[in-house]
């Protein structure tokens, strides 16, 4: 009986070892990719005549695959979530979301940034550096509820790459590949009196 079991267990061990080796190699290959960075430098809610505006400065560095995708005409969309509600799980008017799209046009060789939720604000740049630099100073309209924030109310903001906006073929790899995972840590500040 022992002699008949030994080859089976050896094969099983070899298979397990192979799977582990593949997993380790895969993890190593994934970790080898340089991820991008996304940091919120500053943010504040500024009052204007029309509506409160979010002034936000983001330092963004795209990963190699992201930059490559952008140059191949794949739009990258960043989701910016602003939340000034007291309770996160309850519905509130003091929440807003903006989707900023970065795009490249090959004919004109221009990089464009635009707020998908405010189509009027469109800017184009000759280089990707200028494009990303434009994220350092953005003004995004906010709902009126942000104009009446009580003093000292916490305002939280977070930015992340919206993988759901990627082409279908990229969505599944984006779940696993670190190069496609780009999100900022939450930035929080206290509102001044509206």
């Amino acid at each position: 009986m022992r002699s008949s079991k030994r080859p089976a267990s050896t094969v099983a061990r070899a298979l397990v070892a192979l799977v582990l080796a593949c997993a380790v190699a895969g993890c190593g290959a994934l970790a080898a990719q340089q991820p991008g960075t996304l940091v919120i430098r500053n943010a504040r809610v500024a009052g204007t005549i029309d509506a409160p505006m979010l002034e936000i400065g983001i330092d963004c560095k795209l990963s190699g695959p992201m930059q490559d995708a952008l140059d191949h005409g794949i739009p990258l969309t960043f989701r910016i979530r602003v939340d000034a509600s007291r309770w996160r799980l309850l519905p509130s008017d003091a929440r807003a979301e903006h989707r900023i799209e970065l795009r490249y046009f090959p004919l004109s060789r221009r990089y464009q940034v635009r707020d998908l939720d405010a189509p009027v604000d469109v800017r184009s740049f000759a280089t990707p550096g200028n494009l990303l630099a434009s994220l350092n100073a953005m003004r995004l309209p906010l709902p009126p509820a942000f104009a009446t924030l009580s003093r000292g109310a916490p305002v939280r903001i977070g930015v992340e790459l919206e993988t759901a906006s990627l082409p279908g073929a990229l969505r599944l790899p984006a779940v696993f590949e670190p190069a496609w995972q780009l999100s900022s840590t939450e930035y929080t500040w206290l509102a001044k009196a509206g």
Binding site: D68, A69, H72, G73, I74, F105, P106, L107, S108, R110, Q112, P119, V122, R123, S124, F125, A126, N130, T163, A164, S165, L166, P167, G168, A169, L170, R171, L172, P173, V175
Partner: protein
């Protein structure tokens, strides 16, 4: 119990089915999404987590079934090995095609995606894009020249005329928007031919740097959904510190706009696809792998179910076969289906019924045979004749108790052995085994022979009869011990002789004696001395011989005594003392007593018992003769006879002498009448003792003493009733 059933159903059936369904939906959703449809991107993590959990569930379900199969295999459960074989076959049948299709699908997918990217097509698209750029650049140069021309014109235009000049210029140049920015960046004047572009686009820092550096800025820019030509030139003549800037937006012709957009989109779609090629392959490979895993796991799970479903009736059939083999015919069989398995089940059920009937018949027959055998054994055990059974090879197969008793051997220990082997171990039985072996070899159907055999119990006369069993089944030898029968016959004959002697001889003796005495009285002294002496001797001889004859006739009379003994409880030691006291004073005899302690009681005829004792003492004295002084020892002792089934006690009365001992060849016949080794005596003494012993349910035996002489032992049964202390008669 119901909840446990539900739980079992959920764990074994529902969960794996749900897992398969979840995996299927996940694969479909991922495939749909990867192809560009769907909108499940935000649920990817949940979908993948659900798929992973489903895979784990399926793996656990399969592992659990494998474990159960292993336990069943180790336990030797009915149908387990067949189930394993069937499972392997099903998996081997199903998995390779799935894997082959998987491999082909991957290869096909890879080739198809690669085929999308035709090199010539890519080059054509690049060329088209370049042509578009050239056309746009040409238009851009024209717009730049027009803008420079207008800026030159505006240099001499007063400030309040600027707006009018722009309004004229926009129509003249065909621009969409013209704006003059002051040195401080403020809008000095602006005009637009398209209401969508009323708000002037402000130059950013990059543009201003280009203007300052290169003296102008000209670029095609995507503005909104439209590609516009944007040109900025400084207004000539202004001092650098307050130099104004003319910015013009020029549209491309509608046709060119559409063409360039088409070229850009086509080229861009191609580039996008080219970039996504690897991801597309990876995504579809992952989805195909999902589908492969799903298929393999589903096939394996289904194979378990199919194998179990197919093997279950066979397993129950095997269990039923085992039960039938163990003699349990009431084991329930699986319900017969309408197929070959059902036919097998029905056939098995019919076979089981027939086996059950046959077994019952065989059992009944075996019981009957056993009953017959027990009856036969009982019969054989109660036969007084010895019975030996032999197989056709002459080996002993059966021997009854009488055979053992007659032959004086443990015949059952020789079962299975031949007569030669028995003879080798029991050489004294050669007179029995040799004729028997000869008859067995002779092959006669029936035979008989009278044998004289020396057994442990003495010489025996045996009437041996044998017969060969039918169908060469062996032989049976039956033998009777004629020794006792012969003795009884001789006893009866001697009794008849004695009665005739007593009756026919005794009657004339008295007249003869009286006549002889009368002759003696009449003629003695009246005739001559010589004649008187003759008469005296003759009459003396007649009288003495008549006395001797009377003694002998009386002895015969005693032997042939027709009256039964009068049995009464007798205190044996007391009776012995009475008799022995008669010899006590005889100086010629040395007599000693060694009587058992207590007072053994026997039920006996005191007169005959006295006679027996006298005969034994007389026999001893006669055996010693005159050569030396007789030394007699009379003893009693209590013994228990273990040979009999009932535990009975006996008292043994022994008379030992210091004579020459028993003659050679002394045996049972020495207790028959007229058998004696002595010159004197009638030869009836021991015969009478034996007869008295037998009348009292006892026996007599004789043996030599180690110190010389012989001892005769009379054994009598102890009277159990009277020994409890009732009245005892001594004389």
């Amino acid at each position: 119990m119901a909840s446990q059933g539900w739980l079992k159903f959920a764990l074994r059936r529902a969960l794996p089915a749900l897992a398969v369904l979840a995996l299927l939906l996940a694969s479909l959703k991922l495939a749909e999404d990867a192809a560009g449809g769907g909108g499940a991107a935000q649920y990817y993590r949940w979908i993948l987590a659900a798929a992973a959990v489903s895979l784990a569930l399926l793996a656990v379900a399969i592992a659990q079934r494998l474990w159960r199969l292993r336990i069943e295999l180790e336990r030797g459960a009915p149908g387990a090995r067949l189930g394993r074989r069937l499972l392997l076959m099903l998996v081997l049948l199903a998995v390779p095609p799935v894997v082959v299709i998987y491999g082909f699908a991957l290869r096909f997918l890879d080739a198809t995606i690669d085929n999308w990217f035709n090199v010539k097509l890519e080059a054509a698209l690049d060329d088209a894009l370049e042509i578009g750029r050239i056309v746009v650049d040409e238009r851009l140069r024209t717009a730049e020249q027009q803008s420079v021309s207008l800026a030159t014109k505006l240099a001499d235009t007063p400030a309040d005329e600027l707006q009018r000049a722009l309004d004229e210029g926009i129509d003249e140049l065909g621009a969409t928007q013209l704006t003059v920015f002051g040195g401080d960046g403020r809008v000095v004047a602006t005009t637009s031919s398209d209401p969508r572009y009323l708000d002037p686009l402000r130059p950013d820092a990059t543009m201003q740097m280009r203007v300052q550096g290169d003296g102008r800025y000209a670029a095609a820019e995507p503005i909104g959904d439209t590609l516009m030509l944007r040109v900025a030139v400084p207004v000539a003549g202004d001092v650098p510190a307050s130099r104004r800037l003319l910015q013009g937006l020029y549209p491309l012709p509608t046709r060119l706009q559409a063409l360039t957009r088409g070229i850009e989109n086509a080229s861009f779609d191609f580039q996008r696809l080219k970039f996504l090629r690897g991801s597309l392959k990876l995504t579809f490979a992952l989805i195909l792998t999902f589908a492969l895993l799903l298929s393999v796991l589903m096939v394996t799970l289904a194979a378990f179910g199919v194998a179990r479903r197919l093997v279950a009736p066979v397993g129950r059939l095997i269990a039923a076969t085992r039960a039938v083999g163990a003699g349990r015919y009431d084991t329930p069989l699986p319900i017969a289906s309408n197929d070959e398995l059902g036919f097998l089940v029905n056939s098995f059920a019919q076979m089981t019924r027939e086996i059950e009937f046959a077994s019952a018949r065989a059992q009944k027959s075996a019981h009957e045979t056993e009953r017959q055998r027990a009856w036969l054994v009982a019969l054989l055990e109660r036969l007084s004749a010895g019975v030996l059974g032999f197989d056709p090879d002459g080996r002993l197969r059966i021997a009854n108790r009488a055979a053992e008793a007659i032959l004086g051997i443990g015949a059952t220990s020789y079962i299975g052995r031949s007569l030669a082997e028995i003879e080798r171990d029991e050489p004294q039985l050669a007179a029995f085994t040799e004729p028997l072996a000869r008859h067995l070899r002779g092959g006669l159907r029936e035979w008989r022979e009278e044998l004289v055999v020396d057994t442990a119990g003495g010489r025996r006369v045996l009437m041996l009869r044998g017969t060969a069993l039918a169908d060469d089944a062996g032989y049976v030898a039956v033998f009777d011990d004629l020794t006792v029968l012969n003795r009884a016959q001789r006893d009866a004959a001697w009794g008849e002789v004695a009665r005739r002697l007593a009756h026919e001889v005794k009657n004339p003796l008295t007249p003869i004696q009286l006549a002889a005495e009368r002759l003696r009285r009449r003629f003695l002294g009246r005739v001559s001395a010589e004649e008187s002496e003759l008469i005296d001797r003759a009459t003396h001889t007649i009288v003495s011989q008549v006395e001797a004859l009377k003694t002998m006739v009386n002895a015969f009379g005693d032997y042939a005594r027709p009256q039964p003994p009068t049995l009464r409880p007798i205190a044996l030691n007391a009776l012995l003392d009475d008799v022995l006291d008669l010899y006590e004073n005889d100086q010629r005899i040395g007599l000693s007593r060694d009587l058992a302690a207590g007072e053994p009681l026997v039920r006996a005829d005191a007169v005959r018992l006295r006679q027996a004792l006298h005969n034994l003492i007389k026999n001893a004295l006669e055996a010693i003769g005159d050569a030396k002084k007789p030394q007699l020892v009379v003893s009693t002792r209590i013994v228990r006879d273990d040979d009999r089934s009932e535990d009975r006690a006996f008292v043994e009365l022994a008379v030992a002498d210091n004579g020459p001992g028993l003659p050679a060849g002394f045996g049972e016949r020495w207790f028959e009448p007229y058998t004696t080794s002595k010159n004197k005596g009638t030869g009836l003494g021991l015969a009478v003792v034996k007869k008295i012993a037998e009348e009292h349910g006892g026996s007599i035996r004789a043996e030599n003493r180690a110190q010389g002489g012989a001892v005769f032992t009379l054994r009598l049964p102890i009277d159990a009733v009277q020994s409890t202390g009732q009245a005892v008669t001594v004389g």
